[in-house]
């Protein structure tokens, strides 16, 4: 059996590569920014910052100073502190809402793509209903009925994200379910649950995660729009979106009030997407196989 010996040791020894280098500097900057934003958001309360709600009513829209690094807002509150506390809301909503979409939409999409038939029609149909239903009504209704809170806001944005995640999951599952490794699992006598969880899920997860990161970006922005319509989180804490909305009123007097949170939003959104792009490229098996 001379033909059977394969020089695996040699091959495998060659395989591992220095992953760090190919990620690039930009990726690490993005990671750094995201970690930084998370860190300040988490430790906002213990940081030596002025309170984000205490007003110095006679010192409104103060310029940058040592007392107020980024000045004060339209009601005389410390802008830096508000940006940092705003990060909490934006991040919580921006991450939790897509998680709702990811889990529910992803599960529905996978089931629909795997089982096809009437179940698929039902899922696709109800998603169409959700899409055809003006999102604003849902937002208005939930806030009018349940009141305004981060939880409700997250819920609304999460539900609105379900159809998109469903589509991604279903499309991926549809192509995957025809792939031979799934048929192989069926041939082995695997149950549906096992195929869904062990064979399909790890593969569907990746495009979903990439989409999730985009969803984070979009949600942070959409939350701002809802805040503008008065459907955002209740005061006195503001998200970045509602800070932009507040700053908009004094665009001529103090444009920084709108632009500081917008820049924070931009950097975070950009960072998330950079990370998403890089991770997708990295975990793509085809790339690794080169």
């Amino acid at each position: 059996m001379a033909t059977l010996e394969l020089n695996i040791d040699q091959d495998v020894a060659q395989a591992p590569t220095r992953r760090g280098r190919r990620l690039g500097l930009l990726f690490w900057i993005a990671i750094g920014w995201v970690i930084f934003v998370f860190a300040v958001a988490i430790f906002a309360d213990v940081l030596p910052l002025p309170s984000p709600t205490d007003m110095d009513m006679l010192e409104k829209r103060a310029p940058f100073s040592t007392a107020h690094w980024l000045g004060t807002d339209g009601l005389g509150r410390d802008e830096l502190s508000r940006v940092i506390h705003g990060a909490r809301i934006s991040l919580v909503v921006g991450i939790c809402a897509p998680i709702i979409g990811l889990t529910l939409g992803g599960a529905l999409g996978m089931l629909a793509g795997y089982f096809r038939g009437r179940f698929e029609s039902l899922v696709v149909g109800s998603m169409d209903v959700l899409l055809a239903f003006p999102p604003l009504i849902l937002a208005l209704a939930v806030t009018a009925y349940l009141g305004q809170s981060i939880l409700n806001l997250t819920f609304i944005l999460g539900v609105l994200g379900i159809p998109a995640f469903m589509r991604v999951a279903r499309a991926t599952t549809l192509t995957l379910a025809r792939r031979e490794f799934v048929i192989a699992a069926q041939a082995l006598g695997a149950t549906h649950a096992r195929i869904l969880l062990r064979e399909l899920l790890p593969n569907v997860m990746l495009p979903l995660l990439a989409f999730f990161l985009l969803g984070v970006a979009v949600t942070i922005v959409v939350e701002g729009a809802l805040s503008f319509l008065g459907l955002g989180v209740p005061p006195p804490i503001s998200s970045w979106g509602s800070m932009i909305g507040e700053g908009r009123q004094s665009l001529e007097m103090a444009p920084r009030l709108a632009f500081i949170p917008a820049i924070a939003m931009f950097l975070t959104v950009l960072a998330f997407n950079l990370i998403g792009d890089t991770l997708r490229a990295l975990t793509d098996p085809r790339q690794g196989a080169l």
């Binding site: 709600t53 205490d54 009513m57 006679l58 409104k60 008065g230 209740p234 005061p235 009123q249």
Partner: protein, 483 residues
């Protein structure tokens, strides 16, 4: 005074219609249109004195309970229907007819009936004496504009959006949410004092873009309020623009629900009121434009009190009162979900926090607000006392035991007696005394508190001339001209 031209006015709100049975009362937006489409019997001159409009003269009985108006002859509605006493009577009958359930009826409840003894004579029989009736019927609100009876009878449900009056302008076209175009009425009885050919009314809901429209010339005159202080102050400095303001009566207020803890304790209520520094508040919210209010009447009202019993700003005292109360003071206050509501809420929150009370802002949408108020599902609620020529209607409704809008849920025989007395008294001096006593009672008990007096603003390009005072907040552009 140049003839001709047209102006575009930017309003804040969409006009929903002009049929009192549908819309109840007119808001400021509808009022502006109504002032051009309709006439009232009288109008107020710059000194606030009633002057003849559709009525040429008036007399009253000695007890001030019967008023007789002589009407202007030869006036026709836009649809050709002759204007006469019968038309006036039908307008009031329609509003008062219980079958119509007009929500406008409340404001004419003091009128017992209206009679038309001849073509040009109208007699108002009142329930209580009113010394001020010619002024009361002057604002171009839903109750007092004279609408064409033929029109509402023939048009039915469509009448709301196809109003017919006797006014200087005739509606030409109206796209809901966009614009209402009014053309000069060629047969107007007072054409000599009407200059513009056309008035265009547009809702421009966003304050920033409304002001931008004024700057860019899209609009010649726009509605505004003091919460848009930055823009008002910029307009004041801009030679191309002019700011019009009118210090009216009434005030922005808030009511405590005195039946629920912790606001059932007068110490808490007093503490909360005394924690407010209205000057600072005005500075924070309106760059100091808003005028602090210490009673419900305001500088524009004829009720002026030497002592209105206002609680002074005293943070220490407030803290002490809350400490005295002993329990934590946590409550929610209801605001509308608008940027103004939020800003105001945060400022109040801040003051009360300093006094040791914890207020949570609860934002609800416009449609939820009234039911929450009327079912008393609130602890503190923001409200407004509007600009009326006579305080009676509102004060009675807001504070008399059993009234649906007596939001404080407060009942006190002494207060009731004062309200009833002020209502039936004809002597203005005595009435002022009554109303000041009422104010003192409310302030001492801290049932409601007043934040800012009602002030009305309009901004126009400098070429717009001849804008009258904005009584009741109505911007009447029907007699302006362009220079």
């Amino acid at each position: 005074q140049k003839q001709g031209g047209s102006i575009t006015m930017g309003l804040e709100l969409d006009i929903s219609g002009f049929d009192p049975l549908k819309v109840g009362v007119f808001d400021t937006a509808a009022g502006t249109a109504a002032a051009a489409i309709f006439d009232t019997l009288t109008y107020l001159d710059d000194k606030g004195v009633a002057q003849p409009k559709l009525a040429l003269s008036w007399t009253h009985s000695d007890d001030f309970k019967t008023w007789t108006f002589k009407l202007r002859p030869g006036v026709k509605f836009h649809d050709g229907t002759p204007f006469n006493a019968q038309a006036v009577k039908e307008n009031y009958d329609r509003q008062k007819d219980p079958a119509n359930k007009c929500r406008c009826a409340f404001y004419v409840a003091f009128i017992n009936n209206v009679q038309a003894p001849d073509e040009l004579t109208v007699v108002f029989n009142l329930n209580d004496p009113s010394v001020n009736l010619p002024a009361i019927v002057s604002p171009p609100g839903a109750n007092f504009v004279v609408q064409s009876p033929t029109a509402w009878k023939t048009k039915g449900a469509d009448y709301n959006r196809n109003p017919v009056g006797t006014g200087p302008y005739i509606p030409k076209s109206w796209i809901a949410g966009d614009r209402m175009v009014l053309e000069k009425n060629p047969d107007y009885w007072d054409k000599g004092r009407i200059y513009l050919d056309r008035i265009i009314l547009k809702p421009l809901p966003d304050a920033q873009s409304r002001f931008a429209s004024l700057q860019s010339g899209e609009a010649d005159i726009v509605w505004d309020d003091e919460y848009d202080a930055d823009n008002i102050q910029r307009a004041e400095k801009d030679p191309k623009l002019k700011v019009h303001t009118y210090a009216g009566s009434g005030a922005a207020v808030a009511a405590f629900n005195t039946k629920v803890a912790p606001l059932d304790d007068v110490r808490v209520r007093q503490a909360l009121v005394m924690a407010l520094d209205r000057k600072k508040m005005s500075q924070a919210l309106t760059n100091g434009l808003a005028r602090p209010a210490s009673n419900p009447y305001g500088d524009g009202s004829w009720v002026k009190c030497k002592d209105d019993g206002a609680l002074p700003y005293d943070l220490e005292k407030a803290k002490a009162l809350i400490k005295d109360y002993g329990k934590p003071v946590d409550f929610k206050m209801l605001f509308t979900a608008t940027p103004r509501g939020r800003a105001g809420g945060q400022v109040l929150q801040q003051f009360w926090k300093q006094a040791g009370a914890n207020m949570e802002i609860e934002q609800v949408d416009q449609a939820t607000f009234p039911p929450r108020a009327f079912m008393r599902q609130f602890q503190v609620i923001g409200w407004r006392i509007i600009d009326l020529a006579d305080p009676d209607v509102q004060m009675y409704a807001n504070f008399h035991t059993g009234s649906p809008v007596a939001l404080a849920n407060y009942s006190n025989p002494e207060l009731d007696k004062l309200l009833e007395h002020a209502r039936v008294t004809a002597d203005q001096g005595k009435r002022i005394e009554d109303y000041c006593a009422i104010s003192r009672h409310i302030n001492q008990q801290a049932l409601w508190f007043w934040t800012f007096q009602n002030t009305y603003y309009a901004m126009s390009s400098a070429k717009v001339k001849g804008l009258p005072k904005m009584y009741s907040g109505v911007i009447d552009v029907s007699r302006v001209w362009l220079e």
